[in-house]
């Protein structure tokens, strides 16, 4: 007979076996009865903890210069350290954002007093494309409307 599987949190024999599938990645956690009850077998933290324990814990490869938060911290917590972390971990986060949010760029409100230059520029690109399409489809009314919008956007951008 094979060795009984040990609990991921202590050394007891595991009797509770959990699998979590997130975007096709399977994480398995084995717990003894005591740890399962204590941690609450459905607590996502159990998976994070087990993940941190089972994966080889290498030295951090990225550290936020502003707050000292590392990529290892992010793997453990699933939360960031400070607003600057968004820049520090930009590449890692971009992939994650596409998975959890299906998008990687903001198109909503901006704080009072902030000039939304990035959004204006993106809208300008879209409007130009839409106008070309409208012309190709001979929808001149729509094209005229878009031309007016483009003129307006260009003016706004030059006055920023």
């Amino acid at each position: 007979m094979s060795q009984p599987i040990k609990c991921s949190l202590c050394e007891e024999a595991a009797t509770v076996h959990l699998s979590q599938v997130v975007h096709g990645n399977v994480t398995k956690v084995h717990l003894c009865e005591a740890c399962a009850q204590k941690g609450g077998a459905t607590d996502p933290a159990v998976f994070q903890l087990a993940d941190a324990l089972t994966s080889a814990s290498p030295a951090p490869t990225l550290t936020c210069p502003k707050c000292g938060f590392t990529d290892i911290d992010f793997r453990k917590r699933g939360r960031l350290g400070c607003p600057s972390c968004w820049e520090t971990f930009g590449d890692v986060l971009n992939g994650l954002l596409l998975k959890v949010q299906h998008e990687a760029a903001h198109v909503g409100r901006v704080p009072a007093g902030t000039l939304p230059s990035g959004q204006l520029r993106r809208r300008l690109d879209d409007a130009r494309r839409e106008m070309e399409k409208a012309i190709a489809g001979e929808d001149y009314e729509a094209a005229a409307r878009l031309r007016d919008e483009i003129v307006g956007l260009e003016k706004q951008l030059t006055t920023l």
């Binding site: 960031l80 998008e103 990687a104 903001h106 409100r109």
Partner: protein
Amino acid sequence: MSSVEDILAAENELTHLLGAQQAVVLSTRIRLARNLDGSPFPGWAKVPQRKEIADRCVEALEALPKFRRGHVLRMGELGDRDRSVLVERHLVSKELASGKSGAAVISRDQTCSVMVNEEDHLRIQVVKAGWHLRGTWHIAEQLDDALGGSLKLAFSDRLGYLTACPTNVGTGLRASAMVHLPGLCLAGHMDKVSRALNQDGLAVRGWLGEGTEAAGNVFQISNQQTLGLSEEAILKHLGGWIKTVVEQEWNARRKLAQEEGEKFVDRLARSLGLLRSARLLTSSEAMNMLSHLRLACDMGCLPEERRHLVDRLMIEGQPAHVQARAGQELDSDGRDRRRAAVVREALKDFPEVVPPTA
């Protein structure tokens, strides 16, 4: 008088029919996650930093006209029961209540509350009784603008409002409706509805939010995506689905009333009878029976103007509320006894249940 006692005693939006109250949708809620530029997020900040952040946020909030004569509550200064009361009222989250360095700034009418040092520095919340997505959003928008005027918020041109968790970045907006769906539950359609909502990017949760059961057939439906969609698009998407869910709920109720006939009325009448006679009432039993009374009010089996009383009992029948009203800690039996007494008293002059008119 402590501030939490004040909150319990005050007439307010959700328990006293101050807002327009409706069938099916109990309340509409908007939440915006915001952070201070240049400060570590609460989960990573050191204790003195968290204190400094809380002081800065509370000072800015207190200066806003919306919070004049409101409440400022620091979690570290409140007892367990008071914090539980706030959670049961949805004024603060369990997460905020379980820490010491959080604070809540609550408007006089309890429609606006801002949590400080939860997962993010600021969580602006606005709640209205009934279904008022636009009105609720406009209040939140104004608060956000006012706050952005006095505090520099963490914002990136590309990613929008920066939050501690990637699931909130962008708009930081969580819009939700608290819906009462006894028809869909009784008809056994709730799994199907949940699945459809999940597939289209909406989350379905129980009465007290994340990880809670749907006591009393009450569910919270909210958007999941916060990035790559404008606030307008998020609200429109949620609004469209809530309209569909409300229609489906009415269809299920009418079908049930028609097919079951006397049995349908009997079920509602029994619940009223039980609530009026019980000497010991657990919180989940109370919720489930009160759900039947709310259904009866919606369907014309009980007078509609009694509905707000049912809503109030749903909120005030929760464990911490029962103890706060009693002014003492009670064990489980004591709470059930006290809850039964409160419910009996409130329902003693309720008329009898009659066949539906709706």
